[in-house]
């Protein structure tokens, strides 16, 4: 049975970065690591242990799936070396979870800006 993620619970940094990386397209494990490093300008480095630990949780929650089994339109490997690599894809629930998290972060930023503005006007 798939565990339903709590709608309001924030995602961890690793989870958010993995979902963001997969939002750009299906990737294998090393591809996700590279994409996360690129997206964060090298500030966030994901190790294989952290990656697969989180991928397992995301797959159990139904947010990420094996691309080979999830879709018939399988991504073509870039090189022959990637032929036997397992690709991961974002599911519909995964996209929804990512969108919800982005909304949550937006509201946090909005609130933070408002408070900073209040603090500035209070001091002035």
């Amino acid at each position: 049975m798939k565990s339903e993620p709590a709608k309001s619970s924030p995602l961890s940094s690793a989870t958010l970065h993995i979902l963001l990386a997969l939002a750009g397209g299906n990737l294998h494990g090393y591809g996700i690591i590279k994409e996360v490093t690129r997206n964060s300008d090298g500030h966030y480095r994901l190790g294989p242990g952290t990656l697969y630990d989180n991928l397992k949780k995301l797959m159990d929650a139904g947010l990420v799936a094996d691309a080979a089994t999830a879709s018939s339109s399988k991504r073509k490997p870039v090189s022959s070396k990637e032929d036997d690599r397992r690709f991961y894809t974002l599911t519909k629930d995964g996209k929804n979870a990512l969108a919800a998290e982005v909304d949550r972060l937006q509201s946090v930023v909005r609130e933070a800006k408002l408070r900073l503005q209040e603090a500035r006007t209070g001091k002035a």
Partner: protein, 140 residues
């Protein structure tokens, strides 16, 4: 450091992970290790591997109802046998050695042993670059 030795130490670390996790992701993790090693970034993967091992083991023990987690401490119960503890000790020694060989940074591990009723109690403290701290402590 010798690439073959680093690979051996990492494989040993992977072998300590639960079998289901190894079967599902072990090959891919080793592939990533090889790729990263060739680019000179292998040191952080040992620390990442140890943290992953602790997470997997804690999840496994939690499932068995033998683990209690309180205030960031993972306290192992009598469910972890001496062979497993020895295996973990050997692996950690290899990792410590590997880390010392790989970089000039001080080791992120501290290991202390105290005796309680003639039973050794090990405390291993890991300090991650993000200032997270994991303490693994065995209790008699």
């Amino acid at each position: 450091m010798n690439r073959a030795f680093a690979r051996f130490a990492y494989r040993l670390l992977l072998s300590l992970h639960p079998a289901s996790f190894q079967d599902e992701f072990g090959t891919e993790m080793l592939w990533i290790f090889d790729e990263e090693y060739s680019q000179g970034g292998a040191a952080y993967m040992f620390l990442d591997g140890v943290i992953s091992l602790l997470r997997q083991c804690s999840r496994l023990e939690k499932d068995r109802g033998q683990l209690s987690i309180a205030s960031g401490e993972i306290i192992t119960g009598p469910g972890i046998g001496p062979v497993r503890l020895l295996q973990a000790g050997v692996t950690l020694s290899l990792i410590l050695f590997s880390l010392n060989q790989l970089g000039s940074h001080p080791s992120p591990f501290t290991l202390s042993v105290r005796w309680s009723d003639r039973v050794p109690c090990y405390t291993i403290t890991l300090r991650a670059p993000s200032h997270a701290e994991v303490v693994l402590e065995s209790t008699p």
